[in-house]
């Protein structure tokens, strides 16, 4: 569904709304994913939907209703439901006015028509290429290729009206040998950018390189985290930059803006317009997104806000609202870490003894305030000896403060986009001294 149609739906609702303030969020999604295992497609799915969410504010009382029925009567019904809910809600006089919006422009290359219209035959060809690599390497493959488009329109009765269309393509593969596995991924707004042969070859190489893994002792290690591993770790720091956790005291950075808390080589931004990860230039309240420097040379510089928390803390609204209703506060969802100067290979070459981690798994917070998290390595964990990769090791569990890790780190010069189901960011490979592993597993 094109932006013009979504905006027409929004205008229709706003034109009929008797609420003091009204916000309309129209989301369109058309996504497909071809998933495989053992060189067979076991799941091939396509989903299309449009949904409309209405936030009505009546006398300081807020209600939200959502429906995927976009018939005229149904739109009226969704509006009426939101108002009815609002009238029953307690009054919240701290609720600020909805943003008035502003001019925004989508980042370059956020939308690619070929990706929006990519069909099952194209994805089958791409997974077939990965099957060929698996068979040629005598390993088996599991993964997926996905493609699709999302469109979003946010409008409100204070004048905000913003639309964005983006595309996403992704290839993700794990290659498995008898006693080892390797992982690689590629993400882009353009399906044509997915070099699936190279992605598959990287995963297969890792599986073959790490066969017959040896056991190593847990303890403090020098580690080199490749982008997929580093991004998953960093995702657990992003909530510490939220104005909500900052104000309530659960953030490590609470009350510590301006302090040097990370290594002097650490600069982290939230940047919706990074060319490797172009995303929507406004938030779910229609506020234009600011490109925010969160950490500069180790000094914590800023947090992210939405309209509620900007008003409460008397800070600028940085445009990081999530969809209403939102009990989690504003979030920095597009982290970018400033790269270093050494290549990944140079980081390895300068490591007398350490571990290279391709990917983490199941990271969870152990102690939120102290940013201590635990998790496992998986799918390509190497020993480094005398500056060279020296075969695979059995996977290990870590318990590590993220902040502490970022006090003793060095970044590679290459940036990669990586993402999970709840984050998408652009990061380099990172070398960390004294990374704490606490146990090992059997594979």
């Amino acid at each position: 569904m094109k932006a013009e149609r979504r905006e027409a739906i929004a205008r229709r609702i706003l034109g009929r709304s008797p609420a003091d303030q009204c916000e309309v969020l129209v989301e369109y999604s058309n996504q497909a994913l071809t998933r495989f295992t053992h060189e067979n497609v076991h799941q091939n799915v396509a989903q299309t939907d449009v949904s409309v969410s209405v936030r009505a504010i009546v006398d300081g009382r807020t209600g939200v209703a959502r429906s995927n029925d976009i018939g005229d009567d149904a739109l009226n019904g969704t509006l009426e439901r939101a108002i009815a809910i609002a009238k029953l809600a307690p009054q919240d006089l701290a609720q600020p006015a909805l943003p008035v919006g502003g001019k925004t422009a989508p980042p370059d290359d956020a939308y690619d028509d070929a990706t929006a219209t990519a069909d099952a035959a194209l994805r089958a060809r791409l997974v077939g290429t990965m099957f060929d690599v698996a068979e040629g390497s005598a390993v088996w493959s599991a993964g997926y290729v996905s493609s699709g488009t999302d469109g979003i329109t946010v409008a409100n009765s204070n004048g905000a009206m913003a639309s964005f269309d983006g595309t996403q393509a992704r290839a993700n593969v794990k290659m498995s040998a008898a006693d080892a596995s390797g992982f690689a991924e590629g993400l882009s707004a353009r399906v044509a950018d997915l070099d699936v042969a190279s992605i598959a070859a990287t995963a297969a190489e890792k599986a073959l390189d790490t066969r017959a893994p040896r056991g190593v002792e847990p303890g403090a290690w020098t580690v080199i985290l490749e982008p997929a591993a580093f991004a998953e770790l960093l995702a657990y720091l992003s909530e510490h930059f939220s104005a909500q956790s900052f104000d309530e005291g659960s953030s490590f950075f609470s009350g510590r803006l301006g302090e040097s808390l990370l290594g002097t080589n650490v600069t982290i931004r939230d940047d919706y317009a990074h060319p490797s990860n172009p995303s929507m230039p406004f938030d779910y309240e229609g506020q234009p997104k600011a490109r925010v420097t969160l950490v500069e040379n180790g000094v914590v510089r800023s947090i992210v806000t939405d309209s509620y928390w900007a008003a409460k803390l008397k800070r600028e609204n940085t445009g990081h609202a999530l969809p209403a209703p939102n009990a989690d506060g504003p979030q920095a969802l597009n982290l970018v870490v400033e790269p270093g100067t050494a290549s990944r290979e140079e980081l390895i070459a300068r490591t007398p003894r350490g571990l290279l981690v391709s990917r983490f798994w199941y990271i969870r917070t152990v102690d939120g305030k102290q940013t201590i998290v635990t998790g496992m390595t998986r799918d390509g964990t190497y020993l480094i000896e005398n500056g060279k990769l020296a075969g695979g090791v059995r996977n290990l569990r870590f318990n590590q403060s993220i902040v502490e890790a970022l006090r003793h780190c060095e970044f590679s010069s290459e940036l990669r986009r990586s993402g999970g189901y709840s984050y998408s960011m652009v990061v380099p490979t990172v070398k960390i001294e004294g990374f704490t592993f606490t146990s090992t597993t059997e594979f």
């Binding site: 996504q31 497909a32 994913l33 495989f36 053992h38 067979n40 497609v41 076991h42 799941q43 091939n44 799915v45 396509a46 989903q47 299309t48 939907d49 449009v50 949904s51 939200v64 209703a65 429906s67 995927n68 029925d69 809910i85 029953l88 307690p90 919240d92 069909d119 099952a120 035959a121 994805r123 089958a124 060809r125 077939g128 099957f131 599991a142 993964g143 997926y144 996905s146 993700n172 593969v173 309530e248 005291g249 659960s250 939102n326 009990a327 199941y362 969870r364 152990v366 939120g368 305030k369 201590i372 635990t374 496992m376 998986r378 569990r397 318990n399 146990s439 597993t441 059997e442 594979f443």
Partner: protein, 483 residues
């Protein structure tokens, strides 16, 4: 009826196009959430979503399309798309994986509901939460209080080319409270009931039965007390886990590894594989003799309780672990057929737009015969832990580390002082083999989990792991906080 007409059109079209099998599942989903945060209603929302998912089987391969366009043309397009996806799957797959279901049912099912949540006014819902949340604030150290209610209803209409016609109404409800205490550079959290709230299939009686307001002051006081409590020691101890934590232990270390799609590598790139390999079936001593873990999708109140799963298989009960021995898996039609068994109805889809896949359903540790107090009796030096705070396990489900919100020292058979940051770790089969006592039926409860993640695209499942408190010997505790 609109759905039946549209379904007939889809099934006829499938046959005409040479499709080997097709099913279409209409789903009218309704989700309502109310959340109060620090005295403010942070969420008062009502979401409705209607659509259909179509599975098409062609040449031993599946295609799945989902759409919300409830017109003839919309259904025609979705059928064509599903068949196109199936043909694309078949074109590149090396071997056929799939076969059509063979047993058709014409039936209906509805969750037993004592009080329809729709009969409870928004005002009553909000008032309950405001009262409970207010009671959490027992002092200035409580930085965040939260209280919430979730209400879900799904009306499903399933039709297939082998003649199934199944109508179901599934109603699930839940709620909980959480207090976050901040002080002295520390943050501590307490929740009730369990760590995620109380979630059951049923109506408003689930929410009112949770007794949130009655327990809120105690939960707030415990959160504050944890700030000053001593750290859980590190070392080897006997451990008693509260029922909700045993529930999570079952979920992570039995429920997920026993999913047969994981065992067969279908989830390898994301959720991982499993140490419960096929060669271990009927051989692996998973746990001690007192450990029997059973799928029961007919369990009253279970979040996964229904008449039929989302590929039209009738709900049933079957053992996964019987007196410590691995004897079964959670299965779909295709995976069961691959190992010469029949499905035990463990297939679910989050909504109409999600493909049905194997999900952990109601998977329960059967109660033992030890009263709760009796679990403590012969422990000289141990830790009792309640309510999960952190959970992590490797991608074959062996090496785990879990943390709880609160613990208590056990000395010479008696519960002693409160401990903060209790954690424990181990390897799954060794841990379950160290279980020497499971609480009795009086302490057994159907703990529900509303947010189990699996699959790509990611789906959220609602599941129950009924459990009683249980005792484990010689467990590593205080992990992650050594030194």
């Amino acid at each position: 009826m609109q759905f039946e007409d549209l379904a007939g059109r889809a099934l006829d079209d499938a046959v005409a196009r040479g499709c080997d099998y097709l099913d279409i599942r209409f789903d009218i989903g309704r989700a309502e959430r109310v959340e109060v945060r620090n005295g403010v209603v942070a969420s008062l929302a009502d979401a409705a979503s209607t659509g259909y998912g179509i599975r098409a089987l062609v040449d031993g391969a599946w295609g799945f399309s989902a759409a919300s366009d409830l017109t003839d043309r919309g259904v025609d397009d979705a059928v064509a798309r599903a068949i196109g996806l199936a043909r694309a799957s078949a074109s590149v797959s090396r071997t056929p994986l799939a076969a059509a279901p063979t047993i058709a049912y014409v039936d209906s099912f509805a969750t037993r509901v004592e009080r329809d949540p729709r009969d409870v006014s928004l005002g009553e819902r909000v008032a309950l939460l405001l009262e409970a949340e207010r009671a959490l604030h027992v002092g200035s150290a409580i930085a965040v209080g939260r209280a919430w209610i979730d209400l879900w209803q799904a009306d499903k209409y399933f039709y297939s080319t082998i003649g199934s016609k199944i109508e179901q109404r599934i109603v699930q409800s839940g709620g909980g409270i959480t207090a976050l205490a901040v002080g002295g550079g520390d943050v501590q959290e307490r929740s009730f009931p369990g760590d995620r709230g109380l979630y059951l299939s049923g109506g408003w009686e689930v929410v009112s039965g949770a007794r949130l307001a009655e327990n809120a002051a105690r939960i707030g006081e415990e959160a504050v007390a944890l700030l000053a409590a001593p750290q859980c020691p590190s070392g080897t101890r006997d451990v008693i886990l509260g029922g909700s934590q045993v529930s999570l232990q079952i979920h992570e270390s039995c429920g997920h590894p026993a999913e047969l799609d994981r065992v067969m590598g279908w989830e390898a790139n994301f959720s991982g594989t499993s140490f419960l390999e096929l060669a271990q079936l009927d051989r692996l001593r998973y746990g001690s003799n007192g450990v029997t873990i059973r799928i029961d999708n007919t369990l009253p109140g279970g979040m996964a309780t229904c008449g039929y799963d989302d590929e039209g298989t009738k709900s049933c009960a079957s053992d996964i672990i019987r007196e410590g021995l691995l004897v079964g898996y959670e299965m779909s039609n295709d995976t069961a057929r691959a190992i010469g068994r029949t499905s035990n109805a463990c297939v679910r889809a989050q909504s109409w737009e999600h493909v049905p896949m194997i999900r952990m359903c109601n998977l329960n540790l059967l109660p033992g015969n030890v009263p709760f107090e009796g679990l403590f009796e012969d422990i000289k030096d141990g830790v009792y832990m309640e309510s999960n705070r952190s959970w992590s396990i490797d991608d074959r489900r062996l090496n785990f580390q879990f943390g709880c919100q609160i613990g208590w020292e056990i000395k010479n058979g008696r519960r002693g002082r409160m401990l903060k940051n209790p954690t424990y770790a181990g390897m799954t089969p060794q841990f379950w083999n160290s279980c020497d006592a499971v609480g009795d039926a009086d302490s057994w409860f159907a703990w529900g989990t509303p947010n189990c993640g699996k699959g790509e695209p990611m789906q959220t499942g609602r599941t129950t792991q009924a459990a009683a408190p249980a005792r484990f010997r010689n467990v590593a505790v205080g992990v992650g906080y050594e030194g």
